[in-house]
């Protein structure tokens, strides 16, 4: 209930400002009350985890659009047009005001009654668990993983499938090639990886819970998973700069077989990491030279074994890099959706804005165009001699030759 009072107060201010907007006689006051309503709605957007929308609401609505309204009201001097003479129109439609009130109140009740009196309110959708398959097996080229008898992913060796959603609850996970089935319970909203690992034709399945929430800026989350059942405990070390001696750091220590580490947060950049034997840091099992930590990812490093050319198995680290989910409502989440799923509507809105801009220019420009043409014609119709005289500053035309006066003739 902590959040209820801010909601109630701001909501009440919004409704009061909307009523005052409708009742005020002066159009400028109405516009100012509408700005109050919009600011209240921006506040409610913040309470609804929509900070980007709140900022757009303030900048575009309360800023740009309302300034445009105020500008037009001032330009036309239309502050008091509404209260001016009622006119015959209002007399003819006297029944209209009560009818409008009745219709809108009916609208309010038709939606409000089920909202307030309905049982359980608006149904909440179940959060679907997400599952992906990572093929880290040594000898199987491609695996096909079934959940309750249906294929959820076909994954080539060394790759990860995209996330698929499954209903929450118990599922039986098995390989299409046969072998032991595993029963897993998927919690609502959880993110899991099914890791296929092991040598031979019958790799094993293991389930790994993943944290895909947003990471701090310029960092990535790294999880090390020891999927090799025969491995000794392992560590992940950072050898540091090649120029500096003795700056080796242990990032993840002593990870037993079949265990996943706690996530660590690594800064972006090129690193010199290696997976080593936990008992002996000099015994490098697999070197990750120049491993790139990119920003905003959730990396999973899986230690497994790879069959090399002479038929033997040696330790191998499979990095699985996934973009972490941005926080709900953040500019990054909105930008990601806008430029992937909603690219076409985004472009169409851009074209619409362009068309609106051209339309506004056409609508408002016509009359000034006409008057300028009239002025131009008037200027040309003046005698050319006058124009030259105005520019030179003196009378440019010689007075026409005249007959001499009678007086001069006589002398």
């Amino acid at each position: 209930m902590v959040e209820f009072w801010p909601f109630a107060i701001v909501g009440a201010i919004a409704v009061a400002a909307a009523v005052l907007m409708l009742l005020s006689e002066n159009a400028v006051h109405s516009a100012l009350f509408l700005i109050v309503v919009m600011a209240c709605i921006a506040f409610l957007f913040l309470m609804l985890n929509a900070p980007f929308l709140a900022m757009v609401q303030l900048a575009v609505y309360a800023g740009a659009i309302m300034v445009l309204f105020l500008f037009v009201i001032m330009l036309l001097g239309a502050e008091r047009v509404a209260s001016a003479d009622p006119g015959e129109g209002k007399q003819r439609f006297r029944w209209f005001t009560p009818a409008a009130v009745v219709v809108t109140v009916l609208l309010l009740f038709s939606v409000g009654t089920p909202l307030l009196l309905g049982e359980g309110g608006i149904p909440t959708p179940p959060a679907q668990p997400q599952v992906r398959v990572i093929n880290a097996a040594s000898d199987v080229e491609a695996v096909s993983v079934l959940a309750d008898g249906e294929v959820i992913a076909d994954v080539p060796q060394g790759e990860a499938s995209p996330f698929v959603t499954l209903p929450a609850g118990e599922h039986t996970i098995s390989l299409a090639s046969g072998g032991e089935a595993t029963t897993v319970t998927l919690e609502p909203g959880s993110v899991q990886s099914i890791v296929v690992a092991g040598a031979g034709n019958q790799p094993t399945l293991s389930l790994l819970a993943q944290d895909m929430s947003e990471v701090p800026d310029r960092t990535s989350r790294v999880v090390l998973y020891n999927a090799d059942p025969e491995a000794n405990p392992i560590s992940l070390v950072d050898f540091g700069s090649p120029l500096v001696e003795d700056d080796t750091r242990v990032l993840i220590a002593d990870l037993a077989a079949g265990e996943a580490s706690e996530p660590i947060i690594a800064s972006e950049g090129t690193t010199d990491w290696a997976v080593v034997d936990a008992a002996d840091n000099e015994n490098v099992l697999y070197d990750l030279p120049e491993y790139q930590v990119e920003r905003g990812n959730s990396d999973l490093l899986i230690l497994t074994r790879q069959r090399i050319f002479d038929g033997s198995l040696r330790p191998f680290v499979l990095p699985v890099v996934t973009l972490a989910n941005p926080t709900f409502g953040s500019p990054r989440a909105i930008g990601y959706e806008l430029f992937t799923t909603y690219l076409l509507p985004f472009q169409m809105v851009a074209v619409l804005l362009l068309a609106a801009m051209v339309g506004v220019i056409v609508l408002t420009h016509r009359e000034t165009d006409k008057s300028r043409r009239r002025m131009g014609r008037r200027r040309v119709s003046r005698p050319l001699a006058n124009v030259i005289a105005a520019q030179v500053g003196t009378e440019s035309v010689e007075p026409p030759a005249q007959l001499p006066d009678a007086e001069t003739v006589g002398k």
Partner: protein, 101 residues
């Protein structure tokens, strides 16, 4: 505990109805446009509330598009009002019922 989605939808409904009343009853074309803006804002509030309810960001994007289209609509609408005011010297919509050139 966050406020229920029902409360937000109800508030949005009240604001929408107030906007609809303004559209139906106002005689000043500029006030009529402002009432339309109030209705659009109310729907945006409902969209954001449902986006949080479902945990999906699509509602925010629709609200974003509504804001963009509203900006275009206001620009064209106000240009029309200015053009009408130039010819008829009035923006009372009761005086604009004749379709004359």
């Amino acid at each position: 505990m966050p406020v229920q989605t029902e409360a937000y939808v109800m508030l949005s409904m009240v604001l929408f109805v107030l906007g609809a009343l303004g559209v139906l009853l106002k005689r000043n074309a500029i006030l009529l446009f402002m009432s339309v803006e109030l209705m659009l804002n109310a729907t945006n509030l409902a969209l954001a509330a449902f986006a949080r309810h479902w945990g999906q960001v699509d509602g925010h994007l629709f609200a974003f598009f509504v804001i963009t289209v509203a900006a275009a609509e206001v620009a064209v609408g106000l240009a029309l009002i200015v053009a009408i005011f130039r010819t008829k010297r009035s923006i009372n919509i009761d005086e604009l019922h004749q379709m004359e050139g």
